[in-house]
């Protein structure tokens, strides 16, 4: 039996801000449960189950290797082309699944939002957790292959979390905008897959930027370029160089997106249950 709490909650019209961040912390377990639910449910009644988490990126790696490596004959340096693609696919998958997950999160959980209170930010955040777990699985599965191909982990691996964080923050910022807008305008549901389709080509997932000097600065305008190159820099050893402008763009865009995304989300949050 819990001791009777004397926690006092005051809710006043137009003044809900005070306890929001404390509430968010109080509901952290729910975040875990929602992520756990999404992962559990995804492969239910699928005969191959978790294998799908591997099959998809494997096929995509082969496809991109074929298109960029064989057809377009893009250079890969000293690296096996599939490995280059895989190292690019890791952050791309992380971003795209976090972004589309966060973007659909509110409408996907509409039944919860109209019936229970919790800080709504929990929902897009749990989508990030799902994407992160997916990427961890893919990373763990592909590590032995990289090792067999002669890639030796270096101290740079320790900096991988920085780029993971950058990918997640960009996804969160963009996802917050999209999900809050989708509550009212379902159009944004169609915009996300469209953006991702373009994104996989304008982001250097299937090719490396350091061999394209003329294009490099243009590509750097895409905040995900810095993330993808950062991943490769961390994972693929000494062969890959670090390009600072890319990273600055990524960080700046990440911060701006998250700040404005949070602002817009918080501003519209109070109407979610009335509109959704």
């Amino acid at each position: 039996m819990n001791p009777p709490s004397t926690a006092k909650l005051v809710v006043e019209a137009g003044k809900a801000e005070q306890h929001y961040w404390r509430d968010l912390w109080g509901y952290r377990e729910l975040l875990g449960f929602l992520a756990w639910r999404d992962i559990k449910v995804r492969y239910k009644q699928a005969a191959l189950g978790f294998a799908w988490a591997i099959i998809q990126p494997a096929v995509q790696t082969l496809l991109l290797t074929f298109v960029f490596g064989k057809l377009a004959k893009m250079p890969a340096g000293n690296l096996p082309y599939p490995l280059l693609v895989l190292a690019g696919l890791l952050p791309w998958q992380l971003f795209s699944s976090a972004f589309s997950g966060a973007g659909n999160s509110l409408v996907g959980n509409a039944h919860l939002i109209s019936k229970v209170y919790f800080p709504r930010l929990i929902v897009p955040l749990s989508a990030l957790a799902v994407a992160l777990i997916d990427m961890a699985i893919l990373l763990a599965v592909s590590a032995p292959f990289a090792f067999l191909a002669g890639v030796v982990p270096t101290w740079r691996l320790l900096l991988l979390p920085v780029f993971i964080a950058a990918a997640l923050l960009i996804a969160l910022g963009a996802g917050l905008w999209v999900t809050a807008l989708t509550v009212k305008y379902r159009d944004f549901r169609f915009i996300t897959p469209f953006l991702l389709q373009i994104g996989v080509f304008v982001t250097p997932v299937g090719y490396r930027t350091d061999f394209l000097p003329h294009w490099r600065d243009l590509l750097a305008l895409n905040p995900l370029t810095g993330v993808v190159d950062g991943f490769r820099w961390c994972l693929l050893g000494a062969d890959y160089s670090f390009y600072l402008p890319e990273f600055l763009v990524s960080s700046a865009v990440a911060l701006v997106l998250v700040a404005t995304g949070l602002w817009f989300f918080r501003r519209t949050e109070r109407q979610f249950s009335d509109v959704i």
Binding site: V10, V11, A13, F33, K44, H111, Y117, Y185, D187
Partner: protein
């Protein structure tokens, strides 16, 4: 501290903006509207646009609930009951006013919120517990108790999509019943499940309420259960608090007021919420004795009109007669008399209930109407949706008229002792 009220509500108001024909506005609409509005604003500056219609679901409601008190809320559909609960549960924000809650709050606006059909019973207990605000440790501690209460231990590892509706509801309520909040906010959840389980839930609610310091706020159409459970009843009417008082008194006055005009023809097409009218099967009207008088000990015929919006199977209709205080006197269920029916989508139809000899004593009665599919799944339910006046007839004896009441007067055999007078 102990004298602090558990719930203090001051001037609470909630305004909704209605008049949107399209539910999910598209971006194009917004752009077109925005452009038009801008154009208009340019052309006739200062002129107000009146395209939005405002609706106050709740208007300046103030009250206090003491710690440990059980309060019921009644009111017609649309009176603001659900809005009040949604505000107190913090699902939606007030437009004006404020409220203060002292203690841990749990709200149950629906049984089984967040249940996922693909997950097993075991997994859903954990998920639902977390959604309702239980901690991981709390769920673990109460797990066995919840399973025992729901009586589903054999199906614990079966996905809930394979559960019968009764099992589903039992599991969902079991989780909810094991919350240990200081303030419990409950909406209509007692209207589900089979009767035995409803009694069990009411028992559990009583136990919760009886515990030191537990405050319960309960919305129910089941006026009878409110009387048994609540210390006080709040009557909401058109967004305002109309009356507060002890349950039996308020309930009686409430029923009298909302069914003042007794009749024999009822139109339910506009009754209740839009959600109700969007159901698979909607009861659209009730037609008694072809519009003629309803007479004690004479034949009685009720024609229930309905419309379907999806194909439904195994439909049973029900009609209940209640006293003006809301106590059910008699119930007629079509499935008990062997009538379970199936309908195609988008059909209009009617079904007749006939009694050769109406046993209701002369007087006023409230009507409950309903339709369900299967044993527990409600299709449509219209509690106290109308009032009838039963007239005395040629077969009514004078005593019945002079002393009203008596409820049902049923035919019986009477026999004297077989002794010869001495």
């Amino acid at each position: 501290m102990a004298t602090d009220p558990a719930i203090t509500v001051e001037n609470l108001s909630k305004r909704y903006v209605i008049g949107h024909e399209v539910r999910h506005d598209t971006l194009r609409d917004a752009l077109v509207h925005g452009a038009r509005g801008w154009w208009k604003a340019l052309r006739r500056r200062g002129e107000q646009r009146a395209t939005r219609e405002e609706f106050w679901a709740l208007r300046s409601v103030s009250f206090e609930v003491k710690r440990g008190e059980v309060v019921g809320i009644i009111g017609r559909n649309g009176a603001g009951k659900s809005t009040l609960l949604k505000l107190l549960s913090r699902i939606t924000e007030p437009t004006e006013g404020r409220f203060t809650l002292v203690g841990r709050v749990a709200s149950l606006l629906e049984v089984g919120t967040g249940f996922h059909p693909e997950l097993t019973g075991r997994e859903n207990i954990r998920l639902n517990g977390a959604i309702l605000g239980m901690s991981r440790a709390e769920i673990r501690r109460k797990f066995d108790e919840i399973v025992a209460f729901a009586e589903i231990d054999r199906f614990l590892d079966t996905p809930v999509k394979r559960y019968s509706s009764g099992m589903y509801v039992r599991l969902a309520f079991a989780v909810a019943a094991h919350l240990e909040p200081e303030i419990l906010v409950v909406d209509e959840v007692l209207a589900v499940g089979d009767y035995a389980f409803q009694r069990k839930c009411l028992g559990k609610m009583n136990a919760v309420a009886a515990q030191e310091g537990r405050t319960v706020l309960l919305v129910s159409h089941n006026l009878g259960s409110l009387i048994g459970l609540c210390d006080r009843v709040f009557w909401l009417d058109q967004g305002r608090l109309r009356k507060v008082g002890p349950a039996p008194a308020i309930a009686a006055e409430y029923i009298r007021s909302q069914t003042e005009a007794a009749g024999s023809d009822f139109d339910f097409r506009a009754w209740g919420s839009a959600d109700r009218r969007a159901g698979k099967l909607v009861i659209t009207g009730l037609h008694l004795n072809d519009g003629g008088p309803i007479v004690h000990r004479e034949p009685f015929r009720a024609r229930i009109h309905f419309r379907t919006q999806a194909a439904v199977e195994g439909v049973a209709f029900g009609l209940g007669f209640c006293t003006v205080e809301g106590t059910r006197l008699a119930t007629f269920d079509s499935d008990l008399d062997g009538a379970r029916l199936s309908y195609r989508a988008n059909q209009e139809g009617w079904i007749d209930l006939t009694l050769p000899d109406l046993p209701l004593s002369p007087g006023r009665y409230a009507l409950d109407l309903g339709a369900r599919t299967g044993d527990v799944t409600s299709l449509d339910y219209l509690p106290t949706c109308g009032m009838i006046e039963v007239q005395p007839g040629p077969r009514t004896n004078v005593g019945c008229v002079q002393i009203p009441g008596g409820g049902l007067r049923l035919a019986a055999q009477w026999k004297e002792p077989a002794v010869s007078p001495g």
